[in-house]
């Protein structure tokens, strides 16, 4: 479904953010990407949606290469859902309109059709009563659930999550993770950048560990939590699991 082949990215001439990254996510697979801050995991997931350009390598989504000049990027992005660390709901639109905008403008659905779909998804994330509100009237956890619903409204073939719980207060993390766990169990293809190791051990199939722009480890979940092969991953795990 998602193939990342030898991708390298530089910021300016000197700083290399990604070093020859190669991995893949199969249909229905849930892959968790973790690593210390600045390791390039967010950059990598943004490259998958072509929100960040990269200088070398190839990313192929459902058989379509991102770097092929013939690729219609907006069309391809519409098929891959993305959830951001800071939610990025559109503050000038009501919740329902946040969910309808792209359905109507990109997929060409009628307003009624889009609204029906939106309400169904809001029900799924437990927020139907908030449909007429503006994003700022919702808590962080609620906003992030709306953001997930907004991405799902496009009927994506895969979902990307870029640290979806990092900006949330602790008591709101679980309501977002619950939605993600449900998604994973339904067989959604997911690539998730997160530090939530509980989530990883519950639903991930594979765990990718990144450090300094490199994919250091790319192993089945059991192996990763059993005993990571690299020192760096061991150190990272001992740090985040010690409390």
């Amino acid at each position: 479904m998602i193939e990342i082949n030898h991708v390298s990215k530089w910021y300016g001439p000197l700083f290399q953010a990604l070093k020859d990254c190669t991995t893949s996510v199969a249909r229905g697979e849930v892959v968790v990407v973790c690593g210390p801050s600045g390791s390039g995991k967010s950059t990598l997931i943004k490259c998958v949606n072509a929100l960040e350009p990269f200088q070398q390598g190839k990313i192929i989504i459902d058989g379509i290469s991102l770097t092929d000049p013939k690729t219609n990027l907006p069309k391809l992005r519409a098929r891959v859902g993305m959830v951001f660390q800071h939610f990025e709901l559109f503050p000038h639109l009501r919740i329902i309109d946040n969910l309808c905008l792209a359905q109507e403008k990109v997929l060409g659905r009628s307003h009624d059709e889009a609204a029906a779909k939106a309400m169904k998804l809001l029900e799924r994330v437990g927020l139907t009563t908030h449909a007429r509100k503006y994003p700022a009237e919702l808590s962080g956890g609620q906003q992030q659930r709306v953001a997930i619903a907004r991405a799902l409204a496009m009927d994506p073939i895969a979902m990307l999550f870029d640290e979806p719980t990092s900006a949330l207060d602790p008591e709101m993390i679980s309501e977002v993770l619950d939605v993600m766990v449900d998604l994973a169990r339904e067989g959604m293809t997911m690539m998730v950048v997160t530090h939530e190791m509980g989530f990883a051990s519950k639903v991930a199939h594979r765990v990718i560990f990144m450090d300094q722009g490199e994919i250091v480890e790319d192993t089945p979940k059991a192996d990763f939590f059993g005993k990571p092969r690299s020192d760096r991953a061991q150190k990272f795990l001992s740090k985040i699991l010690s409390h």
Binding site: R77, R79, P91
Partner: protein, 230 residues
């Protein structure tokens, strides 16, 4: 000191002052603001676009316009537009452009430079995550601007845009250099005819003051109401 003043002259001139003069002033202000904001937004988009040449041209335009006195631009434009029109259309004679059309074009071009800087600040005030989220949903660059970035930028910038429009309302009085009877022009015509310039200019100042003050107050009220909560 007001003993020698004849305020009656004002009362007699009121219909002319407002029906002719003020209507012209307000029409010119409204149309210039509208055109200026549209063209200014386009210039701001060019300036922020990734194409270096386009953004340099837009920046040059803004710098050029902002370094010229408005009076000069009005003056030159009034005399140049007929010849530019002739050159563009290849006509045998200079194209006749009315004083209104000429001053309208001047004000749109001039104000566009100022509005574009306001819009640029407005667009840049939107966090980069917003266009990223819009694009991640599959919106094109144009749709992202139209449905996500510009509506927010407009709302953030509306008070400043309106304040600039109040300045524009006062600036329209400069069309007197090409003898157009706007409100101030009309007042000055009456004043000269009746030899009551002081009364007429005092009255004109009062009218500009009241309208601008009320408008500024309105902007402040609006500002409090439309702010987007984040």
């Amino acid at each position: 000191m007001f003993g020698n003043f004849d305020f009656d002259v004002i009362a007699r001139a009121l219909p002319y002052l407002f029906r002719e003069g003020m209507v012209f002033t307000l029409t010119l202000t409204a149309l210039s603001a509208l055109g200026g904001i549209v063209v200014g937004t386009l210039i701001a988009l060019l300036r922020l676009s990734g194409f270096r040449l386009l953004s340099r041209i837009a920046a040059l335009y803004v710098d050029l316009i902002r370094s010229l006195p408005l009076v000069l631009v009005i003056f030159w434009f009034y005399f140049l537009v007929p010849y530019i029109g002739q050159w563009l259309t290849g006509a045998a004679r200079p194209i006749k452009v009315g004083a209104f059309a000429s001053s309208l074009i001047t004000f749109i071009m001039f104000e566009a430079a100022y509005y574009s800087e306001i819009m640029r600040a407005g667009i840049q005030s939107i966090s980069r995550g917003q266009p990223a989220a819009a694009q991640a949903l599959g919106l094109t660059y144009g749709q992202t601007m139209r449905y996500v970035v510009l509506p927010q930028a407009f709302r953030n910038m509306l008070p400043v845009l309106l304040t600039q429009t109040i300045v524009l309302f006062q600036d329209t009085s400069l069309v007197y250099v090409v003898s157009i009877p706007d409100f101030l022009g009309a007042a000055s015509i009456v004043g000269q005819r009746d030899g009551r310039l002081v009364e007429m200019y005092l009255f004109a100042a009062l009218v500009y003051f009241v309208i601008s003050c009320v408008a500024s107050f309105g902007v402040r009220q609006l500002q409090a109401r439309i702010a987007i909560v984040r």
